[in-house]
Symmetry: C2
Subunit: 212 residues, 2 copies
Amino acid sequence: MREREKEKTGTTEVALKILKAARGVFAEKGYSGARMDEIAGRAGVNKATLYYQIGDKDTLYAGVIHQVLGDVAGKIATAVSMAGHPREKLAAYIEVIDAAVDSNPELPPIMLREVASDGTHLPRVVLEDMAQVVTILAGIIEDGKKRGVFTEVSPFFIHCMIMGTILMYKKAATIKDRQPWLPAGMKNLDKKLKGSAGQAVARLVLRALDKQ
Amino acid sequence: MREREKEKTGTTEVALKILKAARGVFAEKGYSGARMDEIAGRAGVNKATLYYQIGDKDTLYAGVIHQVLGDVAGKIATAVSMAGHPREKLAAYIEVIDAAVDSNPELPPIMLREVASDGTHLPRVVLEDMAQVVTILAGIIEDGKKRGVFTEVSPFFIHCMIMGTILMYKKAATIKDRQPWLPAGMKNLDKKLKGSAGQAVARLVLRALDKQ
DNA sequence: AGATGGTTTAACCAAATGGTTAAATATCTG
DNA sequence: CAGATATTTAACCATTTGGTTAAACCATCT
């Protein structure tokens, strides 16, 4: 029995290779556009191995979702708890999301498509994580309101604003940069962005919530 | 020859029925998830009729895109030109987008998926329309900056913020409302939204851009 | 070395899918 | 009404796709 790897990590090396390939293909093509053959091929593995190691397409996709969205909620929670003032907490909240997106290029397309299809493929755990994240944001805003630094706003709406802006910007920017016919002036319309997209979002959202 | 309809409108009644069905299916399932048989079935038409009236899947999808995103750019342009002050222009800009989304439930999923797949299926015309829209926004912001009412920001980024927020909110809200296990407090986290989503976006974006 | 059992693979399969065809059915014109 | 043309349809087809199988491969233990 050569289960040494499985015993230690819970996942074999081959399984990780497959997951990584799948992440890429699902991100590029979406669930129904992704082909099991292509995933196997990109992982450098026979298709039967894929089925042996992981299971059917649904299971594979669930694994990818877990890999991509698995620990974001936790990271947000800890980062927020480290900050003190509501404004810092909100900035941390946004920064963690931006960092997650930055370190994971597959996140935006997968998440955008999930939202587009009403989160039908999202496992309950992930939805609960998201709910918890919004609850954290609600706490930050509530606190800020009490301390007189934030105006009254809907936390759910603000969360959509943060996520929507970051996801949309990440992808739209690459689309824009891909159009050879665009005049240079147009292409530089966001080069003046000071700092990361996350910082830009934080700056604008904080201004928007600022009590005068 | 019964081309009376085609001669007048350029599109027959059957073709419109098919386009409408296709819009729904593409919105729900995405390009690769959509099945020609289902579209034909939902249109109450034989599949061969679909091919006779419209053509292959690509052509059909192009038709849907045209139907969904066709005249948004134009509407934005005229609405903005009607307003006078930069703040009013920006509000009009946002309101038109929100109205387009509201009167067209298929727009958000289709657009989100397009962005997710790097706009690969978007015809050049549509991309040019979008570029024009951002140019309009750049004009508004530039004017506002000169008049000392707006801060310095990237128009492209602000456009992503507006689109991202509206699209994300529209879909995320329906996802949230579908989760029976969510506590009522969570579900009401955005019921306090004063007015439409568009108005909420306008309020926040204007606050964010406001020079103090 | 040989037996054991986990792992990989080439070949295979049934179902689904985009697209076509030839015949049937309306519709219009003279 | 008859002929011509436009439109719809049932049946069909080639290919793709998710998934399986039986045999080969390989690390380990005795």
